[in-house]
């Protein structure tokens, strides 16, 4: 395959952002943050309360995020992605954001590889949860601590 295509650079991303106003993420002082308990409630809803195992998930997240308004995250799940054995969903859940739910990604054997990269907001230093739901109903979880220097807050009063 002689096809070359440049991976995206940060500059491309900035250009694409164009005239769009980059809105930070504001937290008013009164804004209620999710708690680990709320994160747990979200997990229970996403997983049907099934027990979760450690392993199979690799999370790439900076140990220190200087800007909480855009934190790169890559979640990879070890799976053959076959009809018999594949990842159905990956959920990203925050323990300390105003909303515990951050994103859910849906896969099938056609995905070929259970990996997704995106950018998320983190209000403060916390543990980010990545949950993988397998086609056989088994569920895996990875807990990744991240230190946030400047929270994803646009309003400086927050």
């Amino acid at each position: 395959m002689g096809e070359h295509w440049k991976p995206w650079t940060r500059r491309d991303a900035l250009k694409a952002a164009g005239a769009v106003t980059l809105a930070g993420w504001a937290l008013s002082p009164a804004a209620a943050l999710a708690t680990p308990d709320e994160a747990k409630a979200v997990l229970d809803r996403l997983t049907g309360g099934a027990s979760m195992k450690e392993g199979r998930i690799t999370v790439k997240l900076p140990a220190i995020a200087e800007d909480g308004s855009s934190v790169p995250i890559t979640v990879t799940v070890a799976s053959p992605m076959s009809e018999a054995d594949h990842v159905k969903a990956i959920h990203i859940v925050s323990e300390e954001n105003p909303n515990a739910e951050v994103a859910s990604f849906h896969f099938s054997p056609r995905s070929g590889k259970a990996e997704v990269a995106t950018r998320i907001r983190l209000a403060k230093t916390q543990t980010v949860l990545a949950v993988a739901v397998m086609n056989d109903g088994s569920i895996y979880i990875a807990r990744t601590p991240v230190t946030v220097t400047v929270g994803g807050c646009g309003n400086q009063d927050g």
């Binding site: 995206w8 504001a26 105003p98 994103a103 990604f105 849906h106 056609r110």
Partner: protein, 108 residues
């Protein structure tokens, strides 16, 4: 809805190859948590809530988004291609407006 999403799809691939796809959708992803600094009133939530990638009409990847997604939602993901065809990328916002982009891939 914002107008110009970016997508990166290889133009060709071998049958059975797993290809990487990258997408970026320009959108401020207003979280609903921010306050207008002048009036002190909350700015209502307005985000892109769903992204779907389909190949020849069949969904191959989907993302449900919440306000914890950064502005200008970016994704990198994979799919296995077994035939030539068309990828269709669709973003849907809180007002149920959609933007769709298509890309062809030649598989041999």
């Amino acid at each position: 809805m914002a107008k110009k999403p970016k997508v990166r799809v290889p133009k060709t691939a071998k049958k059975g190859q797993v290809v990487r796809i990258k997408t970026l959708f320009p959108h401020r992803m207003e979280s609903g948590q921010r306050k207008d600094p002048k009036t002190g009133e909350k700015i209502p939530r307005f985000i892109v809530k769903e992204f779907v990638c389909a190949f020849n009409g069949e969904e191959v990847f989907r993302a449900d988004m919440y306000p914890g997604m950064a502005a200008n939602p970016f994704f990198s993901f994979f799919t296995r291609v077994s035939e030539s065809g068309t990828f269709e990328f669709t973003w849907t916002d809180d007002r149920d407006e959609t933007v769709t982009v298509r890309r062809d891939i030649k598989v041999d």
